[in-house]
């Protein structure tokens, strides 16, 4: 197990939606109440959750004093993708991520992990999957108060029966990965919130999972530490390329970290898309409100304003990558009035960006995206 590499296959050249699907969530329902099962017993309204008219069904269930924590939620998470679930408090985010890991049993629907139905997995299979293929980070850290940092991180290996020497060696590596060396013998309560969450992250990575669930991992931290942890997270992900489901209710965080964002409201999915899709084409007022305060310069990326023609570009023009957002390249314009060269990962010149192009895109986005919503 330790010889398996921590890093997953690197798909970073391929756009996320064209990569293979890792985790697929089909028509998931989670209903709380006295007898939730009774709503999914007929042929049409069956256990697979694919009901003809989900909205009406949600209303019907709510009318009968049951809580629909998740209603007909479907999405695919692709390999190496950071998939963000967002929504207000109580919108069903935690419920969804717990359905994916089967910490709560969905009332109806399917979860496919690499094409296999997770909900059909037996108790022992499930334990095996959790041991080797999934890691999870919790909002309130979920550290064992009676174990030291080292023991906490090594805990998933201990559970598997890995010997003490080996598991502590491995845990030590993880502790170094998150930058906590020197605190191995501390107990959780002796650490700050940010340090505790690093322990949580190290623990969840200890077994080298393919799938990484993070339920509001940074919400309990103050803004400064949160920023630090986000940078840390980005750093880890560029090394590890995990498939990630990340929950947050901070849109800026989602923007910074996510490939795609799923917005939920009252247990239902409102919209799924890339950050710029959400900002520029919000599905409704709820989504628009989420994205309202977001500066477009942080959303629009170089690839969105790319001009493939490379004529007129001086040979000494500053270079930028297509994945950078406009905010990051603005300073580069100060020293050039011709434009910036866009160079991809392999160092190949693929186009240019001009100041005029940027201004146009921003003005355009402002008018078409946001004002369209306001008018409609």
């Amino acid at each position: 197990m330790t010889d398996r590499s921590q890093a997953e296959a690197d798909f970073s050249d391929v756009p996320v939606t064209e990569r293979p699907v890792k985790l697929s969530c089909r028509n998931i329902w989670k209903v709380y109440g006295t007898d939730p099962g009774k709503f999914f017993e007929t042929a049409q309204y069956g256990r697979n959750g694919a009901v003809p008219n989900p909205d009406a069904h949600v209303d019907k269930i709510r009318a009968q004093e049951h809580i629909v924590a998740a209603g007909d939620v479907s999405f695919d998470v692709h390999a190496g993708e950071i998939f963000i679930i967002m929504g207000l408090s109580g919108s069903g985010k935690s419920t969804m991520v717990r359905c994916l890991s089967r910490l709560v049993e969905p009332t109806a629907g399917e979860v496919l992990l690499d094409g296999e139905n997770l909900l059909a997995a037996s108790e022992t299979d499930l334990i095996d999957i959790r041991r080797h293929r999934m890691g999870m980070v919790f909002q309130n850290f979920g550290l064992m108060p009676h174990l030291t940092v080292l023991e906490n991180v090594a805990f998933p290996l201990k559970v598997q029966g890995v010997g003490k020497v080996e598991r502590e060696k491995r845990a030590q590596e993880m502790i170094e990965l998150v930058g906590l060396e020197g605190r191995e013998m501390s107990f959780p309560r002796q650490l700050s919130g940010g340090q505790q969450q690093r322990v949580g992250i190290a623990r969840s990575l200890c077994v080298g999972p393919e799938l990484w669930f993070l339920d509001e991992p940074f919400s309990a931290l103050d803004p400064l530490i949160r920023r630090q942890m986000q940078d840390e997270f980005v750093r880890l992900q560029t090394m590890l390329h995990k498939t990630i489901v990340f929950i947050t209710h901070d849109f800026l965080e989602a923007l910074k970290l996510g490939d795609r964002i799923c917005i939920m409201k009252d247990g239902r999915v409102v919209q799924i898309g890339t950050p710029s899709e959400l900002v520029l084409n919000p599905a409704d007022d709820y989504v628009a409100e989420f994205t309202e305060d977001v500066p477009l310069v942080r959303v629009i990326r170089v690839r969105d304003v790319l001009d493939p023609a490379t004529d007129g570009l001086p040979p000494d023009a500053a270079t930028v990558s297509p994945d950078q957002c406009l905010e990051e390249i603005l300073p580069a314009f100060a020293g050039s009035d011709t434009g910036l060269a866009v160079v991809n990962k392999d160092g190949k010149l693929i186009g240019k960006v001009t100041a005029a192009g940027v201004v146009k895109a921003l003005a355009h986005g402002e008018r078409d995206g946001r004002q369209a919503v306001a008018a409609g």
Partner: protein, 689 residues
């Protein structure tokens, strides 16, 4: 005139009560429940018991036989070990648990047992405790897990726990005796029954409070259900579970001492009891001190050993000598003494001639005699005033209690009339000024004081508690309370019940007056609070038996002694709860009151006390529980009532009578509990706490 809706039920009750009082002379059954109406539950229980014993005794004797093995084993080991070895071991344990202070205290205590000649008895008691604690802890832990896992089990266990904690042990000693046979095992079983509940409750509480993300993080680490339970949930719940271990240990010790009453084991409890019966107070004091220090040591040791911070720090110190120093030093000393004891005879068994027991006891006895001879005026004065001015009027009423010798006047019709006019005027004034609660209390107190609790017609009493229960907790509580008191009525225990209610009521009232004042004082003064804490701790860990000794010494057998014993035992909860309640009033509210310009007095009475009331009510609840528990023990020093009934039943080996009377006490306790809990809950909600 418009009548406020809250007053209506009280007025209805008042009319009903007046009718009952008026009919006292015509219908005697209203005051004294007629004997022919009594149901022979006691006899039925005895028949059932006989049948059960006849059919199942062999099984229980088998259990008894099996349990005697570990106990005699421990006992034999403790007697075989040379005393310095035992002392070395216990001192090392104490050092590990509580540092050198506790070690020194333990060393001194063990030497005390040796010098006063109670080594043998102390070791016997330790042997009992050594089996009873693990037994209670294991049973409690098991039941706790079961109740946590299954709702269904909890529904059965919960009321059982209430019964186990409120039915006095004397009541089930007889059935246990009948089933398990005479011997120390009786004490073990009794202590398992009595001491397991705190363990059950704390285990369950601890497991319930494991945060869900810790449980989930265990699952996501890939724990099997078993791993999740033993590696995640139990360790996380451990601090709470260990609180249970401490409480269970103290309860087990207390019960082991109480069970000495059946005798025949030569333990320290028996020593206290037998000398107390012979009025050899010097001796009982010496033996009582052994129990007291045992309790203190066990309390500190179980608390220290279970102190997580210390243990964690301990287990991560670097050098392995540091980590195991207690084991190494203690073990080394023990082995050294073991070898030495074979060479030096006095180390093997402590020589008789070194025991100073009799001289000290005689000296103590003389001291006590001297004190009693010289200060009897004070003690008698205290006793008589309490008896004639408080206890008697409460019990038989001013009508009979007021006689010229003590009061200076007789209860002539004129004085009676003046009493009534005064009371009516007072009540009327209260209502007129809008102080309805006070008015109602006076209206109830007036006839009660005049005719006494014994003269109160039983329909009035049952109606009163029923009404209070209804106002506090609604219909269900009322049904429970009325049925409970009905149980005592139809079993012919009404007079005894009233006697207990009266004594316990008086004690609780006094406890609350004195303890409440102390609590208020402690809440406002950190020095007082710090000074009071060790006293409270000590009183709380003290086995009930020990408290009887000083009381008996100075005040002899009688109702006043019983009252005093109950007060001493039950005074801790009001002090603690009042202080806790006052200290935890939200500081912003107090600040607001200060800012408005309240005086300290106003802040206390108008702000803090009302807000602390729900907490204080829980303290009242605890006080009543403690009071009733002590009442049974106080039967040893002469009270009448349910406690005495249980005690008499024990003497006559009448299982049915013991059970019925014991159950009655439990029902009184549970009724008070239901009412006060409901009331406190309601108040809390109203205050938004």
């Amino acid at each position: 005139m418009r009548i406020a809706p809250t007053l209506r039920p009280w007025i209805a009750f008042g009319l009903f009560a007046a009718l009952c009082y008026a009919l006292r002379d015509q219908a005697g059954w209203i005051v004294k429940y007629p004997t022919p109406w009594v149901i022979p539950l006691e006899a039925w229980l005895n028949v059932a018991m006989d049948w059960f014993v006849a059919h199942f005794q062999t099984i229980f004797r088998g259990i008894s036989w099996a349990m005697e093995w570990p106990m005699t084993g421990i006992q034999a080991t403790l007697h075989w070990l040379p005393w310095p070895v035992t002392i070395a071991i216990f001192t090392a344990i104490a050092h590990r648990a509580g540092g050198w202070k506790l070690a020194a205290f333990t060393l001194g205590s063990l030497l005390y047992m040796l010098i006063t000649g109670y080594w043998f008895e102390s070791m016997n008691t330790l042997a009992l405790v050594g089996v009873s604690v693990p037994l209670s802890v294991a049973i409690g832990f098991g039941l706790g897990i079961l109740s946590f896992r299954s709702n269904w089990a909890w529904r059965i266990v919960d009321p059982m726990l209430d019964l186990m904690q409120t039915v006095p042990a004397f009541a089930y000693l007889i059935p246990i005796l009948l089933l398990f046979g005479f011997g120390p095992v009786v004490g073990l079983i009794a202590s398992a029954i009595y001491a397991a509940p705190p363990m059950v409750r704390n285990t369950m509480l601890g497991l319930q409070r494991v945060p869900s993300d810790i449980r989930e993080s265990g699952l996501m680490s890939g724990c099997t259900p078993r791993q999740s339970f033993w590696w995640v949930e139990v360790p996380t719940a451990l601090p709470q579970i260990l609180v249970g271990v401490n409480q269970t240990t103290m309860a087990a010790l207390s019960m082991v001492i109480i069970a000495a009453i059946i005798g025949g084991f030569g333990d320290i409890g028996w020593e206290v009891l037998s000398t107390m019966r012979k009025a050899q107070f010097g001796q009982s004091l010496l033996a009582g001190i052994v129990i007291a220090i045992m309790a203190m040591i066990m309390d500190r040791v179980t608390r220290g050993l279970t102190d997580r911070e210390r243990n964690l720090a301990e287990s991560h110190t670097d050098s392995s000598f540091q980590r195991h120093r207690h084991l190494i030093v203690g073990g080394g000393a023990a082995v050294a003494f073991l070898v030495l004891a074979h060479v030096v005879a006095p180390l093997k068994s402590y020589p008789e001639s070194w025991i100073v027991h009799n001289a000290v006891a005689d000296w103590l006895n003389h001291g006590i005699d001297w004190f009693v001879a010289n200060y009897s005026a004070v003690t008698d004065g205290l006793k008589n005033s309490a008896n004639f001015f408080v206890l008697l009027p409460l019990r038989i009423g001013l009508l009979k209690a007021v006689y010229p010798k003590f009061w200076g006047f007789a209860m002539t019709p004129e004085i009676a009339a003046a009493y009534w006019i005064g009371m009516v005027a007072l009540a009327a004034w209260c209502f007129w000024r809008g102080r309805q609660v006070l008015g109602i209390i006076i209206a109830i107190a007036a006839p009660t004081l005049f005719w006494g609790l014994e003269g109160m017609p039983w329909p009035v009493f049952i109606g009163l508690v029923g009404l209070v229960a209804y106002l506090a907790g609604g219909l269900l509580t009322t049904v429970f309370v009325v049925a409970s008191f009905g149980f005592m009525l139809v079993n012919g225990l009404w007079a005894e019940t009233m006697r207990s209610v009266y004594l316990c009521g008086a004690a609780v009232l006094l406890c609350f007056l004195i303890g409440g004042a102390l609590g208020v004082w402690a809440a406002g003064n950190d020095r007082v609070s710090a000074a009071m804490r060790p006293i409270n701790d000590t009183l709380q860990t003290m086995p009930q038996f020990v408290i009887l000794i000083p009381v008996l010494m100075f005040f002899a057998v009688g109702e006043f002694s019983a009252l005093l014993a109950v007060i001493i035992y039950a005074i801790v909860p009001p002090i603690r709860y009042v202080e806790h309640g006052l200290r935890n009033v939200r500081p912003d509210v107090v600040e607001a009151a200060k800012q408005i310009g309240c005086t300290d007095r106003q802040i206390l009475f108008d702000v803090k006390l009302p807000l602390a009331l729900p907490v204080i009510m829980l303290g009242l609840n605890q006080t009543i529980m403690y009071g009733l528990a002590m009442l049974v023990i106080a039967a040893l020093v002469g009270t009448k009532g349910l406690g005495q009934a249980v005690y008499l039943a024990l003497g006559k080996a009448n299982a049915g009578m013991g059970l019925v009377a014991g159950l009655s006490i439990a029902l009184v306790a549970m009724s008070a509990d239901r009412i006060l809990q409901a009331w406190s809950r309601r108040k809390r909600k109203a205050l938004g706490l």
